[in-house]
Amino acid sequence: MARIIGGIGTSHIPSLGPIIDRGLTQTPEWKPFFDGYAPVQRWLAERRPDLAIVIYNDHGLDFFLDKMPTFAVGAAAEYPPGDEGWGIRPVPTAIGDPDFSWHAIESLVDDEFDITICQELRVDHGFLVPMNLLWQSDWPVRVMPVSINVIQHPVPTPLRCYKLGQALRRAVESYDADIDVVIVGTGGMSHQLHGERAGYLSRAFDTQFLDLLESDPGRLTELSRSAYIDGAGAEAVELIMWLTMRGALEPFVRRVHRFYQMPVSLTAAGLVVFENMAESRR
């Protein structure tokens, strides 16, 4: 049977794309940030998951405001990068796993998650930057992107996103193949990009979020969307995607790594790696 070996939460800051593409990751300005990812890169190299479920949001690449799916699940054989306005980045085309995706889609819908099924899906920095940060330039893992609407309100509630994670775990654990799966929640952490409040950050919010995500995620599902917006900045509502990742894990997890830097571009950047306890004992 398939199993989830662990989960990763990571920011997906767009300005990191050009830094990576221009080979600037080891400059004095950027080295401390990229060094923060070395432990997760090592963990992935050791654990070598077969498949990554990547929870991200489309930022106006393949979804426009004419039709905005709340939850969209990839069912494609590949997920090419798209043009967000700056041209197409020189990154690999992510390889999908349609057999797994269709199983997961059936499982989710049977579980009463009425998702949008995507047989073609172009991916933007929300997906690509985490892939770069975790697997660098070579991506030895199949993927299933799951896009959550965090752009057009009403966005789904934190609790609903957590429950989606629980449903994704049931989908993985009912898949009849011996594969290891890692689940990645992306976005955040505190930031606001728009309006007179642009530039808002909160180290205290982020610290508390990271603590509770590990030890008591139920508390984070009880926070309202407005509380995320007020406490961490309007665009930090992306953190609900980290709750999807956490929902897919066991109640008690072992923390493998945690890293935080504030600010990176206009955003506070966070990284956590959790392992399911059963995996830690293997």
Partner: protein, 121 residues
């Protein structure tokens, strides 16, 4: 009145009311995710804007690159951001500074200091 409003000033939660107001503006901005469209827009901005359903205010805000006005007139930041890629691209922090009305360096310094905001009570 939306149920998702933030209580913090300077925040425009992208709810249905704003989305309706900004639809044409965002449709224009979304169109720029294509090299040929970007060239056509830069070649003749007013003519390119004629293809979209923008109010006069929105049209002027685009032509003046008045970033705060674009947000206030219904622009969604992720779509408006595509406008910053034209010519010599702006950083996200430059877009932030322009909306707040501060020099870039001062804006970045201020954010770092102010980043010590509390957990919501």
């Amino acid at each position: 009145m939306s149920r998702y409003k933030a209580s913090t000033p300077g925040t425009y939660v992208y709810d249905g009311e704003i989305a309706r107001r900004g639809f044409g503006l965002n449709k224009f901005a979304y169109s720029l995710a294509d090299h040929g469209a970007r060239e056509a827009f830069l070649a003749d901005e007013p003519a390119y804007l004629d293809r979209f359903d923008l109010t006069l205010e929105q049209r002027n805000a685009v032509l003046r690159r008045d970033w705060l006005a674009l947000v206030q007139l219904g622009g969604n930041i992720y779509y408006i951001f595509k406008l910053t890629a034209l010519g010599s691209p702006m950083k996200m922090s430059e877009l932030g500074a322009a909306q707040v009305g501060l020099p870039h360096d001062e804006f970045v310094r201020r954010n770092t200091v102010r980043g010590e905001n509390p957990w919501p009570a």
